[in-house]
């Protein structure tokens, strides 16, 4: 069996405003916010009181279901506010950065001789564990389980997402340390994918390397899992993103949790799209306004345009994101928008839509839905952009009617919401695919576990 992955089905969404490969240090943020929505399914329990002083890497709260799983502060300073919602549910934590930065230092076990338990304990107490996510269910991995394999995707196909070949440059040492460590957590393989041989990931040891090519969603880890080693009922797979491996690697090398990462700022609403060095939880405004914005009405997205979460100009960089995108809001009417020829939007059909003429053209898309929500009507369209060996529409329908048997049999264990981002993009009926899949996964987890 070939180790390389070639994807044919899919669609590249070329957008205006790709970040230039220049990295600037973003101005230091005064306030850092940890948004609890980033951690799906985690029930937080606070460890420090409002007003307490914390160091960088010091635990703020833990997961009620796994008390050893800690979530830490990205900077040292004061826990200024615990924002709560209905029934005192914690929404976000605000930390005002202190003048001097101090980090907690952990004792690092010897990488060569340490056991899986040692590595786990270090990751858990240092706050790095949440970087490890599990499939099925697309949630933070359960530390008491053992995955059959670990997947890392170093191939980027999402629109305007940070180029890993660029952001990971010079981090080979950290990456190697992290890969060597996490490879102890599974009896199976660590699968690492990369786009071309110039990738800093290409030379890694202790992992099985796969060269990936093809259009989006070839870069999504779910696509690669499906092609290499699909998940069966009862199996577990862990996934880690390369940018998070860098943080884990640095922890292993220095003993410190360093929340710093290189973030791509892109999108047509950004005047000067480029890369910024900043920290998890920092104010997006610090680098957004350093680049400047076009227009009044735009949407700031934590992540890429397909899978990111809606943020705002006064939002904060998400825990997992290495991309921030700003695109114009499309809350305007379009005269005869449903029947006139369209040249400035992307489409997979040729129904007086002409994006098929110029596949390389870059588009300036807005957040307009280009139509109203409808029942599923058209068939066969999703399959063209969906490379997984799954019937996408049938699975979505199974999730909508909450048919657990059908969800299981049609392969819900193998997918994450992001795998349905492209079918959602082209959906003629404007159905919320990712939300449907997320709700289906939550239900399945609740009922079957």
């Amino acid at each position: 069996m070939s180790k390389d992955i070639r994807i044919k089905k899919g669609l590249n969404i070329n957008l205006v405003g790709k970040a230039e490969t220049v990295t600037v240090k973003a101005p230091d943020s005064n306030v850092y916010v940890i948004n609890l929505q980033d951690f799906h399914g985690i029930a937080p329990k606070m460890l420090v009181k409002e007003g307490a002083e914390v160091k960088a890497g010091e635990a703020l709260f833990y997961n009620k279901n796994h008390e050893s799983m800690l979530f830490v502060s990205p900077v040292s300073g004061q826990l200024a506010e615990i924002k709560r919602g209905e029934r005192r549910k914690i929404l976000s934590l605000k930390i005002t950065a202190g003048k001097t930065q101090e980090s907690i230092e952990h004792q690092v076990p010897n990488l060569g001789s340490s056991s899986a338990a040692d590595i786990k304990a270090l990751l858990l107490k240092s706050g790095s564990w949440p970087f490890i996510k599990q499939r099925p269910y697309d949630v933070i991995a359960d530390p008491e389980t053992t995955p059959k394999a670990i997947f890392v995707s170093g191939y980027v196909t999402a629109p305007l997402a940070a180029e890993l070949n660029y952001t990971l440059k010079g981090k080979e040492k950290e990456l190697q340390a992290a890969i060597s460590a996490v490879s102890k957590l599974t009896p199976g393989k660590v699968h690492v994918s990369y786009g071309d041989s110039s990738s800093p990931l290409a030379g890694l040891k202790d992992a099985e390397m796969h060269q990936v090519s093809g259009p989006h969603p070839a870069g999504l880890v779910g696509t690669q899992i499906n092609k290499l080693d699909p998940i069966n009922k009862g199996e577990l797979v862990w996934v880690i993103t390369p940018q998070d491996l860098v943080i884990i690697g640095e922890l292993l090398l220095t003993g410190k949790f360093n929340a710093e990462r290189i973030v791509a700022l892109g999108g047509s609403s950004v005047k000067k799209p480029q890369y910024y060095t900043t920290k998890i939880g920092s104010e997006i405004a610090t680098f957004l306004y350093a680049s400047g914005v076009n227009g009044e009405k735009f949407r700031v997205i934590n992540g890429d345009v397909l899978t990111g979460s809606k943020s705002s100009q006064d939002g904060y960089l998400g825990f997992y994101n290495n991309t921030v995108t700003a695109i114009p809001e499309g809350d305007d009417y379009e005269f005869f928008g449903w029947n006139k020829p369209i040249f400035n939007k992307i489409s997979t059909t040729r129904a007086l839509t002409f994006s098929w003429l110029s596949p390389k053209k870059k588009y300036d898309l807005t957040t307009n839905t280009n139509g109203e929500h409808r029942a599923f009507v058209v068939t066969g369209q999703y399959e063209e952009v969906f490379p997984l060996d799954i019937f996408p529409m049938q699975l979505l329908k199974a999730c909508m009617v909450k048919d657990l048997d059908e969800m299981e049999q049609l392969g819900l264990y193998e997918v994450a919401p992001e795998d349905f981002s492209l079918t959602e993009f082209i959906c003629i009926s404007k159905q919320p695919h990712q939300q449907i899949i997320r709700e289906g996964l939550d239900l399945l987890q609740k009922e079957i576990g």
């Binding site: 606070m46 449903w338 129904a351 807005t366 082209i426 003629i428």
Partner: protein, 422 residues
């Protein structure tokens, strides 16, 4: 204040009210809505259901225009024939004339208007009652219906059929996207079974044939399938090019295989309709036609058999007479009622073609099988899909046997937290 702002303010005013769906249907007809994404992907593709349906309508417009001319042409040709004059068709000479078009305007256009008018009223009523948006499905159905009925269908009959078709064929299942049977064909089937004496025979296919029947000016409106079913192929004067280009009597829009073919190619090119269904349906029809030809040539049935006329009809000619081409291109490809899996589409289409020709031959009372064949396969489409999907499920279950399920590792439970929690 511009029209855009006025309509926007009206929309806000109507929001949450009973009439909102009705207003929105008209509003979104003029302007693509100002809706932005709320969850999932922040950007969306350019196509919506309106555009999809509109593309099908565009593919139907040439057929409609042709049928308007043909309505007149067949009328005058039949009069000529009754007077013993044989007409040679000439596109610019005696086909594209005002005289012909006028018959189209007074006969075909009312069918279109009634079909849309009645159907959309039913849709609006249901949208308002159920509080959902007016869905676009009827835009295509409303165009298909006038094209698949005989030209002399009385308008009251059409109205009743449309109401029946939309309510029983679609709305009771939950509206567009939920129906099991193709609504346009449900309407056609209702007409056929409710008014069988009117809907079959040799009079309704040509304008005025019914009125003039029994008078000295009586004209014939026999279709090609009608001739064949009565073993009167010899009396037929139509050439192959007449059949292909559509200068023959038949349901309003089904005659021009040429324009239907162009429409089909446009739908395939625009990726709106499934080429799998179209291709496999053509194959199915050819296979069945060949089999019947084989039966005739091996001498199993004689010339006196009542099936002889249609069985001996050269197999590929089945595609250019009757409604087969129209059915394959515009009706079998309906995504809602058809097979929904790519593999299933091959079977679904093949059987439509196959059964269409079979019904044609064995049902001489009404020698048109395509609408019954499609309705039958509509019913079987979910079954076909079921087996295709089970194939995928089986693969998954087979893989499950080799699953590596690792036990929970309780040793890693690290020391209990001692920290004071808040």
């Amino acid at each position: 204040m511009s029209l855009k702002n006025k309509l926007h303010n009206l929309k806000e005013e109507y929001k949450g009210k009973k009439m909102a769906p009705a207003f929105n249907a008209i509003h979104t007809f003029l302007y693509a809505p100002n809706e932005t994404t709320h969850s999932g992907s922040h950007v969306r593709g350019a196509d919506d259901l309106k555009r999809t349906m509109n593309t099908v309508i565009m593919a139907l417009i040439p057929v409609l225009l042709f049928s308007m001319f043909n309505a007149g042409y067949q009328h005058f040709a039949a009069i000529d024939a009754a007077n013993g004059v044989v007409r040679e068709v000439s596109v610019f000479g005696n086909f594209l004339t005002w005289e012909n078009f006028w018959i189209g305007i007074i006969k075909v256009l009312p069918l279109v208007v009634v079909s849309y008018g009645v159907g959309l009223i039913v849709e609006f009523i249901f949208a308002v009652i159920k509080g959902h948006e007016v869905e676009e499905g009827y835009l295509v159905t409303g165009m298909l219906v006038p094209l698949i009925v005989p030209i002399d269908t009385p308008l009251w009959m059409l109205s009743i059929a449309v109401i029946f078709g939309v309510v029983i064929g679609k709305e009771v299942f939950g509206g567009t996207g939920m129906n099991i049977l193709n609504p346009a064909l449900t309407i056609r089937a209702f007409l056929f079974f409710a008014y069988p004496t009117w809907m079959s025979g040799d009079k309704v296919w040509v304008y005025d044939a019914v009125n003039l029947a029994g008078t000295p000016d009586a004209i014939s409106g026999e279709t090609i399938l009608g001739y064949l079913a009565q073993n009167k192929a010899a009396e037929m004067t139509y050439s192959i090019s007449d059949m292909f280009f559509g200068f023959i009597p038949g349901s309003v829009g089904e005659t021009s295989t040429f324009l239907i073919l162009l429409g089909g190619l446009f739908l395939i090119f625009s990726k709106i309709a499934s080429w799998r269904i179209m291709l496999s349906a053509v194959l199915g029809a050819l296979v069945m036609g060949l089999m019947f030809n084989g039966v005739v040539s091996s001498g199993w049935i004689g010339e006196t058999s009542k099936f002889y006329g249609l069985m001996s009809f050269t197999f590929w000619k089945h595609l250019i007479v009757g409604g087969l081409a129209f059915g394959i291109v515009y009706m079998a490809t309906d995504p809602v009622t058809g097979s929904q899996t790519n593999k299933g589409k091959w079977f679904y289409g093949f059987f439509i073609g196959f059964i269409s020709v079979m019904i044609r031959v064995f049902n001489p009372a009404y020698p048109e099988g395509v609408f019954l064949a499609i309705l039958l396969m509509n019913v079987f489409a979910p079954t076909i899909d079921h087996y295709v999907i089970r194939g995928n499920v089986k693969k998954r279950l087979k893989r499950l046997k080799n699953a590596t399920i690792l036990p929970n590792d309780s040793a890693s439970k690290s020391e209990k937290l001692k920290a004071e929690t808040v």
